[in-house]
Symmetry: C2
Subunit: 192 residues, 2 copies
């Protein structure tokens, strides 16, 4: 297993955070659920629109409903996650009713804040794109202007041995391309 | 001026961060530029695609080129920001060439990580949606699969008096709806 490399000293939560699949079944204290939602609340957004919405599954029936939307591959591990949250992006500006081109971008920022606050509290998160979006819209009666965009598993890290063999092999922090490789124009090679 | 309220104890950087317009002209140390890009690097993304790309304007000509794309209203204050970064979302999965529905969402997460790391380092950021996207694509020769999505001003906080009167009045942290108001389904009223 390769280890993540760091070319700069960055904040502890960003440095340490990763997305495990092995969840312990320990329930999450409501204080922590409120805490991660409060962190998402204070994300910046275009015109302060705050287009992120959450469907919070911390217990059945909602948790089970969100679980039922996941792909089989995600269900295999997410069945142990005590909290599942569906992130929904509101596509229109509230004031004007016009398209908000930043609905997904700003919702991603809120998710990032949620993930870091979770890590700070000793919780893990794992974001999933693999779920049935049309079924999500139907199940939760979302309008065409509400886009179900990701499901987040939230809970405590568990023993990797609870995972099947295939998923155990993936149970480590994923690597990244170098920061410089994401700079299309303007990277200064003297910085290396 | 109303003050932000907090219903949970959240991480210092999220609690304190806001988006000032009053920038000092002090240049940003390359160590800090590398640092904020390194924080963005470690954002999570769907299939670890890392769809965020940056055009980094820490000096002319690139800084001036990005500045020229901004709306007049943003130029009025952003002229003092020493670093301007254009965020570009890569719309296709690298491996399959298929549409990545999370290109904007994941790029927003990377921007959130960048903003928090900047704040930790004593820097401020201000994200802008107000810029000419088509001109950006033409100027930087972006393909149809690369979406210019936001411009970030990065630098040090300055004296609000450098702003014009209209923008001075807005120079304070913006408020948010309550966390519970962003939960479409599943908020527990016993938590209040």
């Amino acid at each position: 297993m390769n280890r993540r490399d760091f070319d700069a000293d960055i904040m502890k939560e960003i440095k340490e955070r990763w997305s495990p699949r092995a969840f312990a079944k320990t329930p999450v204290d409501p204080v922590d659920i409120k805490g991660v939602l409060e962190a998402a609340r204070y994300a910046p957004s275009c015109f302060n629109e705050q287009p992120w919405r959450f469907i919070l599954g911390d217990s059945d029936p909602i948790r089970g409903q969100i679980f039922g939307l996941l792909t089989e591959k995600n269900q295999r591990w997410a069945k142990r996650a005590p909290v599942l949250i569906l992130i929904v992006a509101q596509k229109l500006f509230e004031q004007t009713g016009k398209d908000n081109p930043w609905h997904a971008f700003d919702s991603g920022t809120a998710w990032g804040f949620l993930a870091l606050e979770a890590w700070r509290r000793g919780l893990i998160t794992h974001g999933m794109g693999g779920f049935h979006k049309k079924d999500a819209s139907a199940l939760f009666d979302l309008s065409e202007h509400e886009l179900p965009i990701a499901v987040i598993a939230l809970g405590y890290q568990g023993d990797p041995k609870v995972l099947d063999e295939e998923q155990q092999l993936k149970e480590h922090p994923s690597l990244r391309r170098k920061a410089s490789e994401s700079v299309l124009i303007g990277w200064n090679t003297e910085w290396e």
